[in-house]
């Protein structure tokens, strides 16, 4: 029974490689072509230089793209075999993401962008939005349309958005690319707190190592 519960909380990568990468990439990478298992509670750091397929990997893990060989399984279910409805459940309950390209609704306010995600499967009450926004220094931007916010502000909105739902795995794709060190640290602290609340696994992909992320596993893509 204990084994079963643990098995439920695992994300497994088996010999995964984007179809557009040559086989030789497997030898240079600690992720591509390898068999890996990520478990809840782990902090996984993936250091990935430009062009190594970092965003592709995040999109594969989130079920947005299927152009890879090998398999990615959540709870023993292959992600590329999930139906659109199953994928929707997976994204609202188990996996959350901070996209590199942010993906906000430009014509909605910051608050609306956050509420759209929060109400999908509320983990926090509505007033938590304001608390989080103030903590990350964008409390005064809640009523502003997302498109008029700076990239740094939008990135913080995207980070808060990922924390408003329940999740077992939090995928971070260069989440601090537009933030200064101080704001990045504040955001990291918030993400670590929220992950602890859920005993979730963070998979953090970035160009280089970040000192304030206490990873338990480190991979080079």
């Amino acid at each position: 029974m204990v084994f079963f519960i643990i098995a439920l909380m695992q994300l497994q990568l088996n010999n995964v490689l984007p179809v557009y990468f040559e086989e030789g990439r497997k030898n240079q990478s600690e992720i591509w072509g390898k068999n890996l298992t990520f478990t809840k509670g782990e902090y996984v750091k993936i250091v990935a230089p430009s062009g190594s397929g970092k965003t592709s990997l995040m999109h594969f893990l989130y079920g947005m793209r299927k152009d890879f060989s090998g398999s990615i399984t959540y709870e023993n279910k292959k992600i590329n075999q999930l139906s659109a409805e199953e994928l929707a459940v997976q994204r609202s309950k188990q996996t959350s993401i901070v996209f590199q390209d942010l993906r906000l609704f430009p014509e909605q306010t910051v608050e609306e962008n956050l509420e759209i995600k929060r109400q999908l499967n509320p983990f926090h009450p509505a007033d938590k939005i304001k608390q989080m926004a103030e903590r990350l220094g964008i409390g005064n931007k809640l009523k502003s349309k997302a498109r008029i916010c700076s990239y740094g502000e939008q990135q913080r909105v995207s980070i808060i958005r990922s924390l408003l739902q329940p999740f077992d795995f939090l995928l971070l794709d260069e989440p601090f690319s537009h933030l200064d060190n101080e704001n990045a640290q504040k955001a990291m602290e918030l993400m670590l707190e929220e992950s602890k609340l859920r005993n979730a696994c963070i998979i953090f992909a970035d160009l280089e190592r970040v000192d304030y992320f206490p990873f338990t596993k480190l991979y080079h893509l």
Partner: protein
């Protein structure tokens, strides 16, 4: 817990051209109105025509003769037993009976009461085909008194010309009391009978005597057995049945004028109304197509937002249901508006055109309501399917 649609509503259906939406609503409304009004008119025509024909026990009785033309004039244009059988065998004819006429000469006179005498004809028809058959409409050999069923139209005709001849006009009751002398003469002999009118018929334009009498007199006085008939009566469920009229036309048989005039009118009217109804269906389909184009355009314009919602974890089928349900009230309102207008038209038609005739109702027939409900369900279902398909294409 299901997410609130209010929050995401502004993300959908953005920037669509409202003119195309209103055009498709108007088109749908006109189509539904045409369809419903045609259906109600079709039902009205059925109701009016039913009353126009003289029906007994749910059947129409019509007499059929052969058309006399210059070509067949002088020939024997009577129905042969084979032709009568052929009529009987048609699916739209329930029964057929010939009118057997006298082969001997008959002179009728009313004695001193009415100084009038004339050559007349007598006919016999199966009792089942006569609308008024009193129990005394029987004759057995040796009986002097012959019961007669007289056409109401003939009495009316008599009353028209009687004053010009110095004859008294008569009511049905008086006519029934007059004893008529029938002088019958044939090749083989002559006889005098006393006839009494025992009933009047609205259906059969003739002087009807019991079949036993005609058969006996034809045989005894003329030495002939009449098998052929100049007129045949048909028993049918609907004298205005298109198939029946077509068959009679093809055989060059002529039917009682009044009823066929109704029948032809009904055929034409029904044809026009059916065409109008079909046109309505076409307009409904066109409007729904226009609406589907509009919907695709709307979804295309909100594509990025829809795609992001799905990426964030919103269920495609939940989004489809919510988007599709936005249009359900519109469909309901459009169909109800068309239904209301149809109701007003029906009321006005009944009240102002038909002067509240009892055969028609001011209220719409229940089937019109049923069709309206069906249209709402159908359009709602088609709409949901369409939205689901379009949203399904956005999956990622």
């Amino acid at each position: 817990m299901s997410p609130s649609y209010k929050t995401i509503k502004p993300l959908l259906l953005t920037g669509a051209n409202p003119a195309s939406r209103w055009f498709s609503y108007a088109g749908l409304g006109i189509g539904v109105l045409l369809l419903l009004a045609s259906l109600q008119m079709f039902i009205n025509i059925q109701g009016l025509m039913k009353k126009a024909s003289i029906r007994k026990n749910g059947y129409d009785y019509i007499s059929v003769t052969k058309i006399i033309t210059n070509d067949n004039m002088g020939k024997d244009n009577r129905f042969t037993p084979a032709e009568i059988e052929e009529l009987k065998s048609q699916s739209f004819v329930d029964d057929a009976a010939p009118l057997i006429s006298n082969r001997f000469k008959v002179i009728a006179s009313a004695g001193d009461a009415i100084p009038f005498s004339s050559d007349v004809f007598l006919e016999a028809l199966d009792n089942n085909f006569i609308d008024t058959v009193p129990p005394n409409f029987k004759w057995t050999e040796g009986q002097i008194k012959v019961p007669i069923i007289f056409s109401s139209d003939f009495l009316e005709m008599y009353n028209v010309f009687a004053p010009s001849y110095g004859l008294p006009q008569m009511s049905q009751a008086t006519a029934s009391n007059v004893t008529i002398s029938l002088y019958c003469e044939g090749k083989l002999g002559q006889e005098v009978f006393q006839a009494n009118i025992v009933a009047f018929s609205d259906r059969v334009n003739s002087l009807l005597a019991p079949k036993e009498f005609i058969d006996w007199a034809n045989k005894t006085l003329e030495g002939a057995e009449e098998k052929k008939a100049t007129r045949v009566y048909l028993k049918t469920k609907d004298a205005n049945n298109g198939e029946l009229l077509q068959f009679l036309d093809s055989k060059q048989y002529r039917v009682n004028k009044d009823k066929t005039a109704f029948g032809r009118g009904k055929q034409i009217l029904q044809g026009v109304v059916t065409a109008l109804g079909l046109f309505g269906v076409l307009v409904v389909i066109l409007a729904l197509m226009l609406f589907s184009f509009y919907l695709q355009l709307v979804v295309a314009r909100s594509k990025d937002n829809l795609q992001l919602l799905i990426t964030l974890g919103y269920s495609p089928s939940w989004i489809s249901k919510k988007v599709a349900s936005q249009f359900i009230p519109v469909y309901v309102i459009v169909v109800i508006a068309a239904l209301l207008i149809t109701q007003i038209i029906q009321w006005a038609f009944h009240h102002f055109v038909m002067y509240d005739r009892p055969e028609l109702q001011s209220m719409l027939h229940w089937s019109v309501f049923a069709v309206a409900l069906l249209l709402i369900i159908l359009s709602g279902f088609a709409n949901f399917k369409l939205v689901k398909r379009i949203v399904g294409r956005l999956n990622n």
